[in-house]
């Protein structure tokens, strides 16, 4: 499924939703303001009832969509990509006037592409989301920026990755988001060779790494070991390297992060 038509449809649905909501509000306000004029011909109560019914029907559809979407993160996390994609397509094709519902649908598609490592599509979808200017403090905005930073890094787009990372530091993050940001930030700093910055507050970073998932923990501590080695802090480098050897298959780790090979060849 190509993302371009999905993004186009998403923007169209947002516009249509806004128009529909405006129309309903205009109808309600108009009924009250123009009541003396319209009452002989049209019963205002029926107009209001009609508006209420339309609103309730649209709300119920949106609740159904939200309920369907609630299992998507677990489908994606468990690798059921085909089923997740099917559900996401169904949700994005269903009209809803509610902005949050549409944004969440597109976010889930970005999450799916991110899990599939389709980085350029992930970045495109994240940019489409951020163009809608979701509230900076919202989880949607933070999740989108984290994915964009990671996708940009994977594609070698360091300026975009750096900008996303610095924007995220202005937000209050949950623990999971902070751990993810730390992992991405270290990858970014290693890519630009900022070893000194990586070593800054290393003890706190190591403590955070200890509560990450095993794979992420090993990668983060290996990057810190590399920074320590480049900065001639041999005690930190040796200690972290030995920890990584217990936590990860070194060959697999190095195949995913070739720059780490020097830790086990020098």
């Amino acid at each position: 499924m190509n993302s371009d038509p999905i993004i186009a449809r998403f923007q169209r649905d947002l516009t249509l939703g806004l128009l529909l909501k405006t129309l309903l509000v205009v109808l309600v306000v108009g009924v009250f303001l123009l009541r003396p004029i319209i009452q002989p011909r049209i019963e205002p109560g029926f107009v209001l009832l009609g508006v209420a019914i339309v609103w309730v029907v649209l709300s119920m559809r949106s609740v159904k969509l939200t309920r369907l979407a609630s299992i998507l993160p677990s489908l994606i996390a468990s690798g059921q990509f085909d089923l997740a994609e099917q559900r996401i397509v169904e949700s994005l094709r269903t009209f809803s006037p509610f902005r949050t519902v549409k944004l969440t649908g597109l976010l889930h598609l970005a999450m799916l592409r991110h899990a599939q490592h389709r980085w350029s599509e992930t970045a495109m979808l994240c940019r489409a989301l951020l163009r809608q200017k979701p509230s900076g403090a919202s989880d949607l905005s933070k999740s989108t920026r984290l994915m964009l930073a990671e996708a940009a890094l994977a594609m070698g787009d360091l300026p975009t990755a750096g900008e996303s990372i610095s924007r995220l530091y202005q937000q209050r993050l949950s623990l999971d988001q902070a751990l993810k940001l730390l992992s991405i930030q270290l990858d970014y700093e290693a890519a630009v060779g900022d070893w000194e910055r990586m070593m800054h507050n290393i003890a706190a970073k190591v403590q955070l790494a200890e509560i990450m998932s095993t794979e992420m923990s090993a990668r983060v501590q290996a990057l810190l070991a590399l920074a320590a080695s480049r900065r001639k802090c041999d005690d930190w480098s040796m200690w972290l390297r030995r920890r990584v050897e217990l936590l990860a298959d070194i060959e697999l780790l190095v195949s995913r992060r070739p720059m780490l090979r020097e830790l086990w060849t020098t």
Binding site: E43, P44, G45, L48, L49, A52, S174, L175, I202, A203, V206, Q207, E210, I211, M212, S213, T214, S217, C233, D235, W236, W239, R242, R243, L246, L247
Partner: protein, 313 residues
């Protein structure tokens, strides 16, 4: 709340935190009445001044009623959101191992009726872990047993609670109960395995079967073997399941390494014991390993731990 300070009675917390019965249907009924009245005001004869006044009064009352209802619902939703945020904060304190703050937060929430049953379940799960940390095993068992009596729990949380329960029983030397708990854990893993096998067959019979393993069960079995003087069984289990322990537990692999070191020490294999103890203490401080498994205190006196670099916590 310090480690030495007294913990409130767990039974009282369980009672005090029960959510009050909601009257959601009452709110919806009142909202419906308000809308009905508003629409009904159009049925009043407005040809007379009295009729007009009546219509205006009904309309105004209905709108005030609905506005009041919406305001109340707004505050209820906000209070639920605050509660959810408080629960998330406790979850993060537990993961960051900030135990006094986590304990204080959990006790604070559970000391009065909670708004949402699922939020209460989540806090109770966290409380069971906090109580284990403070070595209040009997209290931890009481909370776990309460949770296992019909509270909706997902599979992994259920399994983790059973693992914690088995560990608490072993710490209290209730070996017979611990054996029963281990059998239940094995049943859970077997059930998960058969569900996974069915899923694989349904999706694509040519796919290789998914192997379901539980690192928590492995740790519990190793601890039982170490406590009951079966070091060879513990070592064999560790060697077979080491990768699973690493992949699922991360730094808690140190628990398995520590127990394997102790098992080798029991068999007189000092060199292997030293190596494994060194590896265990690379991942976790000695004090923490010995706090979790007091049986390992003897090995901590025999073999030197890994020394972290200066500045490491």
């Amino acid at each position: 709340m310090s480690e030495e300070s007294s913990f409130p009675d767990v039974h009282e917390l369980l009672q005090a935190s029960r959510p009050r019965a909601t009257l959601a249907w009452l709110w919806l009924l009142l909202l419906g009445l308000g809308m009905f009245a508003l629409l009904g005001s159009y049925a009043v004869d407005t040809s007379t001044p009295a009729g007009q006044a009546t219509q205006a009064l009904i309309g105004l009352s209905a709108m005030l009623l609905m506005a009041g209802m919406l305001l109340v619902m707004f505050f209820v939703v906000r209070a639920q959101r605050h509660e959810q945020q408080a629960v998330q904060a406790i979850d993060e304190m537990v993961r960051l191992r900030r135990w006094p703050q986590a304990a204080e937060g959990a006790v604070g929430l559970l000391s009065k009726p909670m708004r949402h049953p699922l939020a209460r379940t989540h806090v109770l799960v966290l409380l069971s872990g906090i109580l284990m940390r403070y070595e209040r095993f009997a209290d931890a068992l009481e909370v776990t047993d309460h949770l296992l009596e019909g509270h909706p729990l997902d599979g992994s949380t259920l399994h983790a609670l059973h693992v914690g329960r088995a560990l608490a029983m072993l710490r209290m030397d209730h070996l017979v109960d611990a054996d029963r708990a281990i059998i239940e854990l094995r049943r859970q893993v077997a059930r998960a395995q058969s569900m996974a096998d069915e899923q694989t067959t349904d999706d694509d019979p040519t796919d290789s079967p998914v192997r379901i393993e539980s690192a928590g069960l492995t740790l519990v079995e190793m601890y039982r073997d170490v406590k009951t003087g079966h070091p060879r069984e513990a070592i064999d289990l560790f060697n077979r399941k080491r990768t699973i322990l690493r992949d699922q537990l991360g730094h808690r692999l140190a628990d398995g390494l520590g127990m394997a070191a102790h098992a080798h020490h029991m068999l007189g294999d000092g060199s292997q014991a030293q190596l494994l103890w060194y590896q265990a203490t690379l991942l976790t401080p000695v004090t923490e390993i010995v706090r979790r498994y007091p049986e390992l205190a003897s090995i901590s006196r025999n073999y030197p731990p890994a020394v972290p670099p200066r500045g490491a916590a």
